[in-house]
């Protein structure tokens, strides 16, 4: 499942919604991304996105992960709009029988979110406001999933 929303999310409630009452799951991984104040340099973060394409990309990422790893459940929630330091930005949940698949799929989700989902962050601080620049390391991280690495390794 994927959701794009302005509102905050409740990690515990999202995990419960995905896993409660199930006895076939052995491993649940959550990743939560939050706004850092960067030692006072950031007082606000605004997330712009491309409605329509965002949902299409998140669904594509989730479908890819599900075709690659045996996931019992997965969820991506990404916020948009104005956020403050400490606020949640993104939640990724993966559930599988074994921990390797759950960890790998969660990292795959995050690497592709960072390089293909059309979100843009703008940070505001005491010195004004600027668009966050993409990190070369994120492309590198996403690239590692193209080399045939999978849950069995």
């Amino acid at each position: 499942m994927i959701r794009v929303q302005q509102e905050n999310f409740d990690i515990g409630a999202e995990i419960a919604a995905l896993t409660d009452g199930r006895t076939d799951i052995g491993a649940i991984v959550s990743f939560t991304g939050t706004v850092r104040d960067q030692h006072g340099a950031v007082t606000e973060m605004t997330l712009e996105h491309y409605p329509g394409m965002t949902e299409a990309e998140l669904q594509r990422i989730e479908a890819q992960a599900n075709s690659r790893w045996p996931l019992q459940a997965s969820l991506i929630v990404h916020r948009t709009g104005a956020l403050k330091p400490g606020d949640n930005i993104v939640l990724v949940l993966t559930a599988s029988e074994h921990r390797e698949a759950a960890f790998d799929a969660a990292q795959f989700f995050m690497d592709y979110l960072k390089t293909s989902a059309p979100f843009w962050k703008r940070e505001t601080g005491p010195d004004g406001s600027k668009w966050v620049e993409a990190k070369a390391g994120d492309e590198t991280a996403a690239g590692r999933w193209s080399t045939g690495k999978n849950a069995a390794e």
Partner: protein
């Protein structure tokens, strides 16, 4: 055809979305960018470093050598920074 601009591409062009009729000579994304740069100093500035700009045709990422074909919606934006 509908054109969309996001993040600093939108700020530099001063346009979020517009409907345009392309010259028949424009067949690829690279040619579309070259044409957009002739539309005024804001566009020339926004697409000055065209290799940095990412493009989506009908909400799917494409390279700049992609053919435009029957596209309904083309979007230009910086490398993404979500997550």
């Amino acid at each position: 055809m509908r054109l969309l601009y996001f993040a600093w591409v939108k700020e530099k062009t001063g346009v979020a979305a517009e409907d345009v009729t392309l010259p028949e000579s424009v067949a690829t994304v690279a040619e579309l960018i070259a044409w957009l740069k002739t539309r005024g100093p804001e566009f020339a500035n926004a697409f000055d470093q065209a290799e940095v700009i990412r493009t989506a045709i009908d909400q799917a990422h494409v390279h700049q050598d992609a053919k435009i074909g029957e596209a309904r919606e083309i979007a230009f934006f910086p490398p993404v920074t979500g997550g």
